[in-house]
């Protein structure tokens, strides 16, 4: 398992999701990705995107004013 970070700050809907999607494409099952955002819409959108693609949201928090969504990649072979 490897941890990755994605800086999606100052991007607004739907770009945080688009960048998350592009990043996850290159990750393996079990990897964790932490996405930093400033658009509050990401709090709905990234978990919704994870739900439909079968990835797991580990936690959503706020850190120094940024929204942080941590997800675990799950891919079917």
């Amino acid at each position: 398992m490897t941890r990755f970070t994605l800086d999606a700050r100052n991007l607004i809907c739907p770009l945080p999701v688009v960048r998350t999607q592009e990043k996850v494409e290159h990750l393996d099952s079990g990897d964790e990705l932490e996405v930093l955002c400033t658009d509050p819409g990401a709090l709905h959108d990234i978990p919704a995107w994870c739900r439909i693609h079968g990835h797991q949201v580990v936690e959503t928090t706020e850190r120094s004013g940024d929204i942080v969504v941590r997800l675990r990649v799950q891919k079917l072979d």
Binding site: I12, V17, A48
Partner: protein, 367 residues
């Protein structure tokens, strides 16, 4: 009519059907976030087809952006409707960034523009073409859209729909489930991948049938249709885009340009510069992301907006810009307001100016 003879041709057809019916077919659905594409996808899902959605991000999309920019604490945070639809349907959604490729559609639409700078017919063809490319890459079988015959001017007229199918290269792999009965049979119908009898015959602008279907499927909370799916249908937005082209002397844009046209009041007091003045805290925050690229002003003695200058004003004109900025702050009635001016090269100055009165700002300055 005589009895059907199951001779050689029929046997062929039967073998063909057996082969094709046993593999689950896959459709890619263009999901806009509105009700029509949601219903179209649902109709096909119900027929046992595997459906995944695609949504193209052109940079001009209405939903999300302005709300995201203007959202303040306590406001309801807006969701991305396309994702919401996919989540409700239980299908995957792929949001695809087409900002670069889409420029060609906006700048050189073969079929021209609608009432504003909306190149709807070219745009639909482009989106279906992108969906076709996705379908081919992902080895899917056909494309579905929520298009309804005669619903919108130009792009959904009966003669327009075949144009979209043809120019996108999708041909008869493009199925519009909501109006299918009013259109030629497509490949998925002819080969029995979907049952044509279960498809729709909706036409026109009334949304009654769609709303009844939504109720039958138990869909609630779907996005209400707005004027158009993108900013290009908006006359104010189009005027700002035209102004940008005129001033630059060429038609073209970068992503940041079209984002900035969505934000703030745009005033052009002189031909050589315009001001973008934030309207609320959310826009202030958004414009802060552009400070390095633009000379910017903010009121120092009173709470007020951040304003960006696009262009090259003279010294005297910078003072005019400061007076306009002061007009939109809380010091608008004060005798003098201190305004901080920050040049792109980092130079700073503080001006003490008299805010312009409402009457001193002619309507023609507003873009």
């Amino acid at each position: 009519m005589g009895a059907l003879s199951f001779g050689a041709p029929w046997n062929h057809l039967r073998t063909f059907y057996t082969v094709h019916m046993t593999t689950q077919r896959k459709a890619v659905a263009l999901i806009s976030g509105g009700l029509d594409s949601m219903l179209a996808a649902k109709m096909i899902l119900e027929q046992g087809v595997h459906v995944e959605g695609v949504n193209f991000f052109t940079g001009f999309c209405v939903q999300g952006h302005t709300h995201a920019i203007r959202a303040r604490r306590g406001d309801q945070v807006t969701r991305n409707n396309a994702l919401w639809v996919a989540d409700q349907l239980g299908i995957k959604l792929h949001i695809i960034d087409v900002i670069e490729d889409y420029k060609h559609v906006v700048l050189n639409p073969k079929h021209g523009y609608g009432a504003n700078l909306n190149p709807c017919l070219d745009c639909k063809g482009f989106m279906v073409q992108k969906a076709r490319e996705w379908m081919e890459r992902s080895r899917f079988d056909f494309i579905i859209t929520g298009e309804v015959l005669g619903q919108r001017p130009k792009s959904q007229l009966k003669r327009a729909l075949p144009v979209i199918a043809l120019e996108s290269g999708a041909g008869d792999r493009l199925l519009r489930p909501l109006s299918a009965h009013l259109l030629e049979r497509t490949l998925p119908e002819r080969l029995g991948w979907v049952d044509r009898d279960k498809l729709g015959r909706i036409t026109g602008r009334s949304r009654k049938t769609q709303m009844a279907m939504a109720e039958r499927y138990g869909f609630t909370g779907y996005a209400q249709p707005a004027g158009g799916c993108c900013f290009l249908t908006d006359s104010n937005y189009s005027a700002k885009l035209r102004d940008l082209w005129r001033v630059r002397g060429e038609r073209g844009y970068e992503f940041d340009d079209i984002m900035l046209l969505k934000v703030g009041r745009h005033l052009r007091p002189r031909p050589n510069f315009k001001l973008i003045v934030a309207r609320d805290a959310g826009e202030n925050q958004f414009l802060r992301g552009f400070l390095k690229r633009f000379t910017h002003l903010y009121t120092d003695s009173h709470p007020g907006p951040l304003a960006l200058i696009d262009g090259e004003p003279s010294r005297g004109e910078i003072e005019l810009a400061a007076r306009i900025t002061a007009r939109f702050g809380q010091g608008r009635e004060a005798r003098r307001v201190r305004v901080n001016v920050n040049q792109r090269d980092g130079r700073q100055q503080v001006l003490s100016v008299e805010p312009l009165s409402r009457k001193q700002i002619p309507q023609e300055w507003y873009l």
